[in-house]
Symmetry: C2
Subunit: 174 residues, 2 copies
């Protein structure tokens, strides 16, 4: 089933409406390969002439997650990212602490071990997060890429230029 149709189905099943904004967001999400965050998405929407507020975006993303079209990757540094899930199955991530690159890996063996552990502890698993932190090939050689872990990672994304300027909400300060 095409993504738009699948989303429409999800919406109507939940008595939700297919709005112009939701259509624009879905279209944009479908056009991206790899991982993206809210600011990426918002910037792209603006560039393509759609006005969608930050609040609406934050309200729509969980709908897309629930409909199974995208997946939320809760980055350990606190910044959430998303990725298209259509035609893919579960995988986990390796995050470069220097350049922010995200690599993917999957391991049925780890999944099996998890299930074992849960069975032993009578824990009902509903999800999991497995992230490996470190340095990708291109960053590993760099001298400065040392001793950054466990003392506050400076993963790329924090330094994205212009992200703040695009914020919708105002600040209270002087």
């Amino acid at each position: 089933m095409p993504a738009i149709e699948r989303f429409a189905k999800y919406l109507s099943e939940n008595r939700l409406k297919m709005t112009r904004e939701r259509r624009a967001i879905l279209a944009d999400v479908l056009s991206v390969r790899g991982h993206f965050d809210v600011d990426d998405l918002l910037a792209r929407l603006r560039r393509s002439g759609h006005h969608v507020s930050r609040a609406t975006l934050y309200r729509t993303l969980p709908r897309l997650v629930e409909s199974g079209l995208i997946h939320k990757v809760e980055m350990v540094d606190g910044q959430a990212r998303y990725e298209l899930m259509i035609g893919r199955h579960h995988h986990d991530h390796m995050v470069c602490l220097r350049c922010g690159t995200i690599l993917e890996f999957e391991s049925p063996e780890v999944e099996r071990i998890q299930e074992d552990v849960c069975r032993r502890k009578k824990f009902v698993m509903t999800g999991h997060t497995h992230q490996i932190r470190g340095y990708c090939v291109s960053c590993a050689g760099d001298d400065r890429a040392r001793a950054l872990d466990s003392r506050g990672s400076n993963v790329a994304g924090r330094s994205r230029a212009g992200a703040g300027g695009a914020r919708a909400g105002g600040r209270t300060g002087p």
Copy 2:
């Protein structure tokens, strides 16, 4: 080596000072079993008559982590927790989405798989996070404990009473 001595060694090696506040924090940390967060720690310190500011606590915790005495557990819901590491080795966590209970598990097999994956992708691992979300035995039977995952977990800790009142910093709003 006793913890206090180990911390003193770490401090002097890094040209840092052993202050009254750091001593109080360490003493408190050593007295806890299980996981704790900044608010827990701050509340206990206040109760035991020590005035240590939130800022100082946030500045000291990374020192304790670097000295190897405690370990930071970056919870996927964004709230960091800590745990004493003395005499323990690496393990990962299962978090109950309903009551916030944290169970521990260790799996050398998973560690081995991780290393394999990294070797294959030429990724230099410096750390990892592996968390299983779900419901513990006592919560798993509860009807309301359904469909909470992946749409914003309401893990306990958000609802901790009095946490806000203990904050040091002021709010800007009316």
